[in-house]
């Protein structure tokens, strides 16, 4: 009898734990309000809490989520979206056109909103009927749909948002598969299954606990000891041992972002004082001195895809006319000789993250072969951003987490007034092409514009793109249904513990 009781207890406790999915995050998310949120890791939690108008699939295609279909107007200046019917928010409120209108206006107009940039081109939103919403634009804007696959497309309960105002993030109410239960800062965020979810057949857990554990070794130890079922951002050096352990599985996705070196071309007077910023031949020599494959192998233990543009070579918008240059030290030396500076010296600023430091060291060693004398200046992240914004740098190792539409990796960085244009780069023809790529909806024409931009950018080199990291996930072998979408989000629909 005793044995049976123990067995029954074990079974009950096992099934109870199987109903909770425990996810280890690499950082503590910021505000859980899609309008104000700023961090990558926060988006992983939103993937369980807040549904969006559209979603991305594994190939970065835009697929409906809260929307069912969409139609651009003939002049491409308005987007009509049909909404899924019968969807409710976690507080029981209806998710209809009026709610979408409220949300888009909140994202666009609320003080402190981080979504303003993505929705700047939206001039008005009409609730045509309860299941149709029309977004009117000041000008055609191709990246809009992609923005609606992220926080700009997340819908909050208007009633709850109105009541909570700026404090909404303390207790978010959305329409996703899980609803908010509690958050203990730096410890855990707990969400529970929302019984009224429109796609509830795809949800196989009762609860999800998101636990921020900053140290990658400790995160992995938690997975190994069975306290976590899934961890994001595994250290590349831990991958071989995980692969050889049948209790775990590893998933790998090429990110939509990039790692690159921004060069100060015109951000401040400092640019012209250094041959790197002054002379395109010196920049070409610098790039030719680098072996991207070796950088990936040494700095990232092979867990990245070498690249030379703002999107990975596998992306449909990769400019094929500007392929990745091979390392050529002889040619690099010759170029430096022609430029009259056989041994140029510059300072490479890098944030204190270990990835960035390793990249800087490998780059320093490689460029030395061509005659470059690089000094590495390790700078705390927030400080390095400020120095970049002030133009107080010569070259800067910086990663970007990426956006699904190529525009999100390009416009802010290389358009003349781009808020993240650290290089100070501004070329009329590139500017015109960037605008063309944003205002045309035809993928072929967009691709052609990106191809031309890539060719010019490869000559000017405001940014020397190096590689695209792999998002490395590890999880219990019993967990199935994981979808590897390049935006690095953990989609909970379809996830189950076998």
């Amino acid at each position: 009898m005793k044995r049976i009781t123990v067995l029954a207890f074990l079974l009950v406790s096992l099934s109870a734990s199987a109903q909770t999915l425990r996810i280890g995050l690499a950082e503590d998310p910021d505000i859980l309000d899609p309008t104000m949120a700023r961090t990558f890791v926060g988006r992983i939690v939103f993937a369980g809490l807040c549904d969006k108008l559209f979603d991305l699939d594994e190939k970065l295609n835009i697929v409906p989520q809260l929307a069912t279909s969409y139609q651009w107007s003939a002049d491409n200046k308005s987007l009509e979206i049909k909404l899924r019917q019968g969807v409710t928010f976690h507080d029981g409120e209806k998710m209809d056109a009026a709610a979408v209108k409220y949300n888009l206006e909140r994202h666009k107009n609320m003080k402190g909103s981080n979504r303003r940039g993505e929705l700047a081109v939206v001039s008005s939103v009409d609730a045509v009927d309860p299941s149709t919403v029309r977004i009117n634009l000041a000008a055609p804007f191709a990246p809009l749909l992609a923005a609606l696959t992220d926080r700009s497309g997340m819908m909050l309960s208007p009633k709850a948002a109105e009541a909570a105002g700026e404090k909404f993030g303390a207790k978010p109410v959305c329409s996703g598969p899980f609803r908010f239960v509690e958050r203990i800062a730096q410890d855990r965020i707990v969400v529970e299954r929302f019984p009224g979810y429109w796609n509830k057949g795809q949800i196989h857990f009762e609860r999800i606990v998101y636990q921020p554990i900053v140290d990658a070794t400790v995160r992995l130890a938690n997975l190994r000891s069975g306290q976590l079922d899934f961890i994001e951002r595994v250290a590349p050096s831990d991958i071989p041992s995980l692969r050889s352990d049948s209790r775990f599985k590893v998933a790998k996705i090429v990110e939509i972002g990039y790692q690159g070196i921004t060069i100060n071309l015109a951000k401040s007077d400092l640019a012209q004082k250094n041959p790197l910023g002054r002379d395109p031949r010196v920049r070409e020599a610098f790039e030719l001195s680098l072996d991207r494959d070796a950088i990936v192998k040494v700095a990232m233990e092979g867990e990245a895809q070498p690249g030379n543009q703002w999107v990975a070579p596998s992306n449909q918008y990769y400019g094929k006319s500007a392929p990745m240059p091979k390392r050529n030290v002889e040619r690099a030396r010759q170029l430096l000789k022609e430029a009259g500076v056989p041994n140029p010296s510059f300072t490479l600023m890098t944030p204190t993250t270990s990835d960035a430091q390793r990249v800087a060291q490998v780059v320093q060693a490689m460029a030395k072969d061509a005659g470059f004398d690089i000094k590495i200046q390790s700078t705390e992240f927030a400080t390095s951003l400020k120095l970049q914004d002030q133009g107080q740098f010569e070259a800067y190792v910086l990663a970007w987490s990426g956006r699904p539409d190529p525009d999100g990796n390009l416009h802010q960085f290389l358009s003349c007034k781009g808020p993240l244009n650290g290089s100070g780069y501004c070329k009329d023809d590139v500017e015109a092409l960037i605008n063309e790529s944003r205002t045309t909806l035809d993928p072929a024409r967009r691709a052609a514009a990106y191809d031309k931009i890539a060719q010019q950018v490869q000559k000017d080199r405001p940014v020397v793109y190096l590689y695209h990291r792999h998002w490395l996930w590890a999880h219990s072998a019993k967990l199935s249904g994981l979808r590897t979408v390049p935006d690095g989000m953990v989609r909970v629909q379809g996830l189950r513990m076998n």
Binding site: D28, D30, I31, D33, A37, R38, T39, F40, K111, G112, S113, N114, R116, G117, E166, K167, G169, A170, R183, I184, A185, Q186, D187, R188, Q211, P212, I213, V214, D215, T217, V218, A221, N222, R224, S225, G226, Q227, E380, F381, A382, T383, L385, K386, D389, W400, S401, Q412, P419, L420
Partner: protein, 313 residues
């Protein structure tokens, strides 16, 4: 008595004012623009402008200080920009966690340190003594984060006896709480145990060679009674003082341990706040800590006043 109390209280006001200015000023010395750090990866210019205005970052320093100080006087330490939670609430949420960790660490340190110290003194120049000394040296020279990870790998990953990291409130599940806290408490207590062991050993050696111990032995008392009842009591006096001092160190030393074991305590709160430029949290936490220290100091002075009649004259 009243005069003494008033005198001491009067000194607290300028001290706290000075501390608050210092905290505020030091925070301004941190490089980097808080608005840019807070605005996230996109650093949208509108957001940066909004954050600057919201936190008065575009106003002169004295004005900014006034905004903050007047809030503090009203009992409002502000709100974490990162997660929109009042700083006071965060402090009250995190403080008990660190206090528990420090208390457990101290108990472990006392248990190990005093026992090892006694054994080492009583068995002077034997293998027991050498062993205890090696332990002390090891404890002092082992970095917390290394020992922490090693313990996690052994007890959580290999043996599966303890959770690898995290925290459970004792009110939720006491057993789980103790299981989660034992490793970090050991790591934190380990170095203190080594210090306590060295001090206990020397104090015991001194006491054991004193006349009254010789007398006790001459009386034919059992050696156990001599050591534990007669010698240890006297030897413990400096150890208690040292232990109390080390407790303060434990509170600040918990930063690394909390980071390794992902324990949401005071140390982790302030470290994360510094890196995220969540400066109201940093200011609030430091001011709170300073106030606690000053208050404890005042209480110590009062206690001293009460036990020392000469001060009352």
């Amino acid at each position: 008595m009243l005069r003494f109390l008033l005198q001491r209280l009067a000194t607290i006001v300028p001290t706290l004012f000075f501390v608050s200015v210092l905290i505020f000023g030091l925070q301004q010395l941190l490089p980097g623009d808080p608005a840019i750090a807070l605005a996230g990866e996109d650093r949208d210019p509108d957001t940066v402008r909004y954050l600057r205005a919201k936190f008065h970052l575009d106003e002169p320093l004295p004005v900014r200080y006034w905004y903050w100080a007047s809030g503090v006087l009203r009992g409002d330490l502000g709100e974490s920009v990162r997660i929109q939670k009042p700083v006071t609430e965060l402090i009250l949420e995190k403080l008990p966690v660190t206090l528990q960790l420090a208390t457990m660490a101290m108990l472990i340190a006392l248990a190990i340190g005093i026992t090892a110290g006694i054994v080492s003194a009583v068995k002077k120049d034997t293998w027991w003594d050498y062993g205890a000394n090696v332990f002390a040296l090891w404890g002092l020279s082992t970095p917390n984060f290394w020992l922490g990870i090693l313990l996690i790998l052994f007890f959580a990953v290999e043996l599966g006896w303890l959770p690898a990291s995290g925290y459970v409130s004792p009110f939720e599940d006491l057993k789980a709480n103790l299981a989660a806290m034992i490793m970090p408490a050991f790591v934190l207590g380990n170095a203190i145990a080594a210090v306590l062991m060295r001090h206990t050993r020397s104090a015991m050696l001194q006491v054991l060679s004193s006349d009254y111990v010789r007398t006790a032995r001459a009386k034919g008392l059992n050696e156990r009674v001599v050591v534990l009842k007669h010698a240890l009591r006297n030897a413990l006096i400096p150890i208690i003082t040292l232990g109390a001092l080390e407790f303060g160190t434990l509170l600040s030393g918990a930063v690394l341990t909390e980071q390794v074991f992902s324990i949401p305590g005071f140390g982790k709160l302030i470290v994360d706040a510094v890196f995220n430029r969540d400066y109201l949290v940093v200011q609030g936490v430091v001011l709170f800590t300073a106030t606690v220290y000053i208050t404890l100091n005042l209480l110590a002075d009062l206690a001293y006043f009460l036990v020392n009649p000469r001060l009352r004259v």
